[in-house]
Subunit: 309 residues, 4 copies
């Protein structure tokens, strides 16, 4: 079988260029470094694509499985500090192995473990968050993106204001001054609907020193009404509920807070770096979700916040 036919190198029946040809659902072990600890090895899900010119039948995926795998193996031997660097390295090598391609694209999804302390009793627990990275390599050019999707808690400001009206009506029946009524209603933990929210940030990375995944995860968490925790003792639970109700947020507020924090936290990112911010609230009063999104350059966000140069 030395002379196996190279069907992929033939001409295709119809001379159509293809934007992306590749593999999806490729699972690989990836070592992820955590500062305080030995590296942990996580199973990550990869997609790898190249473009294909109109004169070539196939992208030789069956032969190139080997290349992709080899690249992953090589890169994976070194613990990875930044997953977008990993995707970038794979994209560069995949492009160099496909002489007919002008563009290689790599996407990766994984899970990541964040340590937290509960707010009142300070017990340590783990939270699992979703992380992802992408890279697109073209001749002499590499574009990289890194991001995360994190669960938190959101409490609705609108329903809370309506409920606060009801609280004031109740307080007005007592022998209290208007100031006392207003002040008390503002201080009490007034009910509203609250729910799991999912915040997603992706950031275009030029220089690995500018952006850290830990910062992205913190920004998402801190842009909702409260963080969620795997383990809460009773005083912790009270603090989480109180915190969420003192800090109610619409789905729109979460995205705007993320925008503000991204601008503040990633000062060194250039004005043309693209940022995507999303929030999905799984509203407890509906079966459907509330959604908000902003996609913009850092320059646009800076300008809107009055922080542009």
């Amino acid at each position: 079988m030395d002379t196996l036919p190279d069907v992929q190198a033939c001409s295709p029946e119809y001379p159509i260029n293809l934007t992306r040809v590749g593999l999806t659902g490729v699972k690989k072990l990836v070592k992820v470094l955590r500062e305080e600890d030995r590296p942990i090895v996580l199973i990550s899900n990869f997609e790898v694509f190249v473009d294909l010119p109109s004169n070539r039948k196939g992208a030789n995926l069956s032969r190139n499985f080997e290349v992709i795998d080899e690249v992953l193996e090589v890169v994976v031997n070194e613990p990875v500090y930044e997953i977008e660097e990993l995707c970038g390295e794979i994209a560069r090598r995949v492009l160099s192995k496909h002489e007919y391609a002008t563009r290689a694209e790599v996407k990766m999804k994984s899970e990541y473990v964040v340590k937290r302390r509960s707010p009142a009793t300070h017990i340590t627990c783990q939270e699992v968050v979703d992380i992802f990275a992408e890279a697109v390599a073209k001749a002499g050019h590499l574009r990289k993106v890194v991001g995360a999707k994190v669960v938190g808690m959101t409490a609705c400001p609108c329903a809370q204001e309506i409920m606060r009206d009801l609280v004031r009506e109740e307080l007005e029946k007592l022998n209290l001054s208007p100031e006392e009524v207003y002040g008390l209603a503002a201080r009490l933990p007034v009910a509203t609907h609250n729910q799991r929210g999912r915040g997603i940030i992706s950031v275009e990375v030029r220089d690995r020193r500018c952006v850290s995944l830990e910062k992205i995860i913190s920004i998402i968490e801190e842009s909702m009404s409260a963080k969620v925790y795997g383990l809460l003792k009773r005083p912790d639970e009270a603090m989480v509920v109180a915190r969420a109700h003192e800090n109610p947020k619409f789905v729109e507020d979460c995205v705007r807070t993320m925008a503000k924090k991204v601008v503040e936290s990633f000062e060194d990112l250039p004005d043309d770096a693209v940022i995507s911010l999303k929030q999905i609230n799984e509203e407890s009063i509906h079966q459907h979700n509330a959604f908000a999104e902003r996609t913009a350059t850092m320059g646009e966000l800076r300008a809107e916040l009055g922080l542009g140069v």
Copy 2:
């Protein structure tokens, strides 16, 4: 090709009996009757199985696709009043077409549309709920099950009690009597974590007059802290939030309330009918869910509630 080989009828390599052989993921249009309206035709997902003796290689699924399909087509021409009847009829016919089988099993999942009026402004809207049915046919015996999975809202009683303590501390700073403090704290809409809950009931049906899917759906909805709605104007939203906070429920409470209501609503079900009750709360303060379940006969539930004969 008249004399195509009947590979399925051969002896298998190893004479092992099989408990279930069949098809999963079969999608079919099913007409569902709604009282007030013309029938609606929903795409339903079926699983169909028979057992297989140790001396037969295959269950002839490739030939029996036809039988299953034919049975569905025939039955489907008449609007179905009860989906467990549909599964029962398919199971009976599948069993009769497989001379070598002693047992046929059919499962079906679909969606169902329930009309609701919002609680304050009485706007009509639709809610989609998941429904399911099963039937097992053996010689001279047919066992049928029907059920539903419905989304509602649950509010945590434990966190609310802790928050109510904080409310009382706040009220005690005013010039109020202890009775006034206690009474007011009990009346106010005090915050807690609330979330989407999913209740699931399945009921073994002997006689189609005993059990209706509408009743099952109502029981699930009414066993949580509040119903959810697709459309809520502001006064509706206030009523839903108020209702949930006046009626906080643990995941355990939801299952016990379902048990109580099932016993009350299905008086004609025999003592040996099997009931399964489940509740999953997608807690807003955690990434994980709270879960409770009871599986029992009607007789056992009646005895525990002191309602047995």
Copy 3:
């Protein structure tokens, strides 16, 4: 509660514009007309978004649920001939109800039933396919897209050529001429790996007469190695397997064949209409999938095929 606070109309904490604010996971009944039949009513999944200026806190989703629902109800009362028209109408009305928005976007996914006859015995059966549509409304402008995702069978040409080499080696041991060996090897149903493929086409629609969903579905099916069927008697199964092995296709071939057929079938589509073509093969020899994609304008596809003006 006449004077409920309008929290949404307030100024937000941070003056960031939002690209999309809305609802996801909204399930609604939609009547779909089929030519030969009474309309069928399917549960469809909607997403509805508007943009939001930097000076407004919330998109009033809680108030606008009503608008969205009302729009759906009105439109839904008439059977829908084209789902992209439905999305277009919703997008137009949503935009007109949000005085502060400059853009409304609607997405819809549903299932659709296609009737087929098995290839040899001509038994009728149903296939369920996924359909989708989108519309974006801006001042004086409406962009609409319609598409489908359909399952079929693909057989690998590369592995088949390798296996055909083995067949030739085997035939060469007989007393046959080289021409007989070559001719016979070319005619025999030589093994290869085959699998479920999923083809996806989306087409930008300007004029409802140009594009039909049935044509899109047919193009996807006919661009793979063979169609799949719910019900196949033994001679049908032989024809499907034979057909797939006479017509092996790489994932790239499927996309190029779709491109060719789209250009041929939608002659009236303008050159600037955007077309997206994707194919995913769930390869039987791997856990991962093969993927190919082309996104282009009709004009680009016509030019590559030498059919441009």
Copy 4:
């Protein structure tokens, strides 16, 4: 807040016993030992339940998060050789911490990496398989289960026989003896439909020396027509396709082969150990799947194979 109310310890509104109360979707890092290597740390998904008597409102999940987490942390500090031992240890400790419970149940799902060499070129690659374990602790009794779900390739014997008939018809046109025709048709790699299959085995474990997860994974793989691989060079791909077509298997055959291999491989398992064997074939000629299942004791399987005592 020293005197926080213990709402869970109250009497419930309705005195209904609960079969299972607990948590689902709990993600935790678990170290898994592999013989040749340092331990790998995988994110695993846990469910933990206890039963609840009719006189107790809640299972104190909010307090017991801590217990469950603590138990996991303690156990997790030692690398785990057997995941059913891990579940058993958690179940034992959870039961001891809930004085009111008579039963604790723990379920765990994870992914596991298996190394393979491609069949012709012997390249090393990784395959990711799904693994799971369960344990139920009652007073003085512990029941443990371990299992895996593995993807492989199945080729249909029935369609291949029909295609082989067509091959024979073609060969009969040549000047060959009937013996030559029959022999050649039997040797050639004749086409059939083939697809991804998923085999699932779960085994009740009494003594950790009896059952290894590696053996379970091997049995599942070797019970299908061929193994699948992440990386196949062209000669490997030919061997996989040839192997699958020399070894066609119905969904029923896969389960029976698993039964045979389980009986042979786990000689030390007692006759009353419960075994569950399932196979799902994602048939390439249909949208739906073929399914087969056997649930039995080791004693029953031994008797059917004539290997009982």
